[in-house]
């Protein structure tokens, strides 16, 4: 029974992620599904390699410093902490949906399947997610530790145990937080906004701590021996956790026992509450309808408002696709406060290639703007309700335009704010045209990603999801948009240092402005024509 359920979980994940075939289409579309699956797999592998390379680089630097002063255990402890934070953030928002809010909960629970098996199969998905996210840090750090610290059987075993233990800790934490989210969801009226608020507070706290640590990292490295000694004496349990990576048998035994005990407790909580939470009907205060004066609105406004409701009633949608809006605003605000100091530092570091600073400032705006992917899952989110838009007397283009307008209306102010701040902060010698090009390119970039996301959403739609987190967070279009955004920003900012210096910042920025403009026109034409036809035929 359990095997069948796990097989279903795995096939669901693989099917939703790598194949999307419209049952109304036949023939060639089946092949297209396979092609898109391959593309998704390639982009995911590239993304994973990119993250692994980044964390390997981080691990090498840290490992060399700490192993030189015989603080191997502190190296493993720091890497483990980073993996737990990264892994928990990566999987926590989808855990409550995977565990409690899956659409097939009722179906499975109505069958003669032990609840235990349903929970285990769901936990299996959570565990795989936790392993994937935490493994991106733990595996490179263990490999780096083995290479730089010297290979031995006990260190290899310790490393493997560390990888497994951390993935289990992440699973446990995700389950606990997912349980809290599910419990809160049952009672809150505006739970989407409250979930977003709580998550933002959580993120804010995380970044505050992170930046504080980064500020102090140099001091920490210098005082590592003293701090290491303090941890060793005052938090001995953390010390022996760090020893696991060194193949310390006491550390391995103690922490394996502790983690298994904690998971046992979490298992008891889940088993006791799973049925009541997964079958409960949310019971916020019941609103009774009172007739009010109603005004007639236009068709375009009605479609826009529908998209607005879709966005604001889903905490997942707001958090995963809209949070970079806050980063854009935050970047603008940060530069307003500390911009002068930053520009001064950049002027010193980047003095060799003239005109780099306005290009870099613009690239930052572009990168943050490219991370906003509100339009990307909007087609897939129609899901089983797509029949409504298709049978209403509205053109497909009007529907797509409403999706674009939601993205653009939300990103407009943050983009203008941050780019104008960057424009004003550009160093004194910056040409006027370069200053003006910063907001122009930022706006063109925002329009490009709104259209590009919609284009990908139409090209690779997934209308048969059982959990909205799949199109919002785990779909190929989302990966494509995020990595295109990062890639384009690096191409714009990074390549200037290599190539653009020869032609000057004005020419370089103008080339990108023209390229964005041309791409925007091409995408606009595609969306109005073939894209609209594609939407009608979904």
């Amino acid at each position: 029974m359990l095997k069948v359920l796990i097989k279903k979980q795995v096939s669901e994940t693989l099917y939703r992620s790598f194949r999307r075939r419209n049952p109304n289409r036949t023939g060639k579309s089946g092949g297209k599904g396979k092609l898109s699956g391959k593309s998704t797999m390639i982009i995911m592998i590239v993304a994973a390699l990119y993250l692994v390379a980044m964390f390997t680089f981080f691990s090498v630097g840290l490992c060399q410093k700490l192993m030189a002063v015989e603080l191997d255990w502190l190296y493993y402890l720091i890497c483990s902490g980073a993996a737990i934070i990264f892994g928990t953030f990566g999987s926590v928002f989808s855990t409550s949906f995977t565990l409690y809010m899956a659409k097939d909960n009722d179906l499975l629970l109505s069958m003669p399947i032990p609840i235990r098996d349903v929970i285990i199969s769901r936990l299996f998905s959570v565990y795989i997610m936790s392993l994937l996210y935490s493994g991106l840090i733990t595996i490179p750090s263990v490999v780096v530790g083995l290479i730089l610290g010297g290979f031995s059987f006990s260190r290899l075993l310790g490393g493997l145990i560390l990888v497994v233990l951390i993935s289990l800790i992440v699973t446990g934490l995700s389950c606990l937080l997912g349980w809290v989210v599910a419990k809160l969801s049952q009672r809150l009226k505006n739970r989407s906004f409250l979930t977003v608020l709580i998550a933002l507070l959580f993120f804010g706290l995380y970044y505050y701590v992170y930046f504080r640590i980064m500020d102090r990292v140099q001091d920490l490295l210098e005082a590592m021996i003293r701090i290491g000694g303090e941890i060793r004496s005052s938090a001995y349990f953390l010390y022996i956790f760090g020893l696991i990576g060194n193949g310390n048998w006491l550390g391995m035994a103690c922490w394996t026992g502790v983690v298994l005990l904690a998971l046992g407790l979490i298992w008891l909580i889940l088993k006791k509450t799973f049925l009541s939470i997964s079958t409960a009907t949310p019971t916020p205060k019941r609103a009774v309808y009172k007739e009010k004066e109603i005004r007639q609105g236009s068709v375009s406004y009605a479609l826009y408002r529908k998209e607005w409701y879709r966005f604001t009633t889903s905490a997942n949608y707001m958090l995963n696709c809209g949070m970079p809006l806050l980063l854009l605003l935050g970047a603008g605000a940060f530069m307003l406060i500390k911009g002068r100091k930053m520009i001064l530092m950049m002027s010193v570091v980047l003095a060799q290639v003239p005109g780099t600073i306005p290009v870099i400032l613009c690239a930052v705006c572009c990168m943050l703007g490219g991370m906003v992917d509100i339009s990307t899952p909007s087609v897939s989110l129609e899901g089983s309700t797509i029949w409504q838009l298709q049978c209403l007397p509205v053109t497909p283009w009007k529907v797509l335009r409403a999706k674009l307008m939601l993205h653009l209306s939300l990103i407009a102010f943050p983009t203008l704010f941050s780019s104008v701040v960057m424009m004003l902060l550009a160093p004194a010698g910056t040409a006027l045209i370069q200053r003006i090009l910063i907001p122009i390119i930022s706006v063109l970039n925002a329009v490009f990603f709104a259209q590009y996301g919609l284009y990908l959403g139409l090209k690779l739609p997934n209308l048969s999801w059982t959990n909205e987190i799949i199109p919002i967070k785990q779909s190929a279009p989302i990966f494509f948009v995020i990595f295109t955004g990062i890639g384009l920003s690096f191409a714009f900012g990074g390549a200037y240092l290599l190539l653009g210096g020869a032609i000057g910042a004005t020419a370089w920025m103008s080339i990108f402005a023209v390229l964005f403009f041309v791409a925007n026109v091409a995408l606009y034409r595609w969306l109005r024509g073939p894209g609209s036809a594609r939407f009608a035929a979904l």
Binding site: P23, N24, T26, G27, T281, P282, R286, A287, V288, Y289, K290, E291, E293, I294, R295, Q296, G297, S298, V299, Y301, A302, L303, R305, K306, Y309, R310, T313, S314, G383, S384, T385, W387, Q388, Q390, C391, L392, P393, V394, T395, A537
Partner: protein, 237 residues
């Protein structure tokens, strides 16, 4: 009102609808009967412009669906077999959305929402999110939204599924009143007793082909509709 002529639709190698022709005049309630997978939903979806078809023509009040899809859609309302509505909206927001799309004036929408919601006993729940609705409540909301803009043609796929007896009775009355005022209704059902009592005309589809159609008397003669249907099914087996 609705003229389906030589409609053919294939899914790959499978012929879902084969050269099907149906004519529905104003004032008629037209029932559509067939076994599961016979091609009923495919025909209904093609008639409302959701599904592209391979050949044939569909006209609504003389307007070709492929030539002027928006003009045709403005004249009709559709209720699918499983009313997947926008769960993220409240009932009233959904109705206002539909009213805006069809350009229903503020006064008319107020009056109609009040009247229809009161009739179907949904008024108090209109402020609730649709995600909190039962299947029957969603079906009632879909019915209100279909009647809200006073379409000339209403196409429904299994409209009685999930409705309580009172709402079911009310829907039959609403259907009759709609047709008495010059509208037309085309709906599929498995409840043959309902079709027999309610429909002016009926069509029986089997494996995508229309095997019998016409007035209720023409189709069933002195037998019950159930007997005729089972007999036709038996012949095909």
């Amino acid at each position: 009102m609705l003229n389906i002529s030589h409609l053919t639709k294939r899914y790959g190698d499978k012929l879902a609808v084969d050269d099907l022709s149906i004519h529905i005049a104003p004032g008629e309630i037209y029932g559509f009967i067939g076994h599961n997978g016979a091609g009923k939903t495919t025909t209904l979806k093609a008639a409302v412009g959701i599904l592209q078809y391979d050949s044939g023509t569909i006209t609504i009040d003389g307007t070709d669906l492929q030539a002027d899809p928006l003009g045709c859609k403005a004249m009709l309302a559709y209720i699918p077999d499983n009313p997947d509505l926008y769960d993220f909206m409240t009932g009233i927001k959904y109705l206002l959305f539909i009213a805006d799309i069809f350009g229903v004036s503020a006064k008319d929408r107020n009056d109609r929402i009040r009247e229809l919601a009161d009739q179907l006993g949904l008024t108090d729940d209109l402020a609730q999110p649709i995600s909190a609705y039962s299947h029957g409540m969603k079906q009632k909301l879909a019915i209100i939204s279909a009647w809200l803009h006073q379409p000339r043609l209403i196409i429904m796929d299994e409209p009685f599924v999930g409705l309580d007896p009172k709402a079911s009775h009310l829907l039959k009355q609403m259907m009759r009143e709609h047709c008495d005022q010059g509208g037309a209704i085309f709906f599929s059902t498995h409840v043959l007793e309902v079709a027999e009592k309610l429909c002016d005309k009926v069509a029986i589809i089997q494996h995508g082909r229309l095997i019998r159609s016409g007035t209720m008397e023409d189709v069933k003669g002195d037998d019950s509709l159930e007997e005729v249907f089972l007999e036709l099914e038996g012949e095909s087996c």
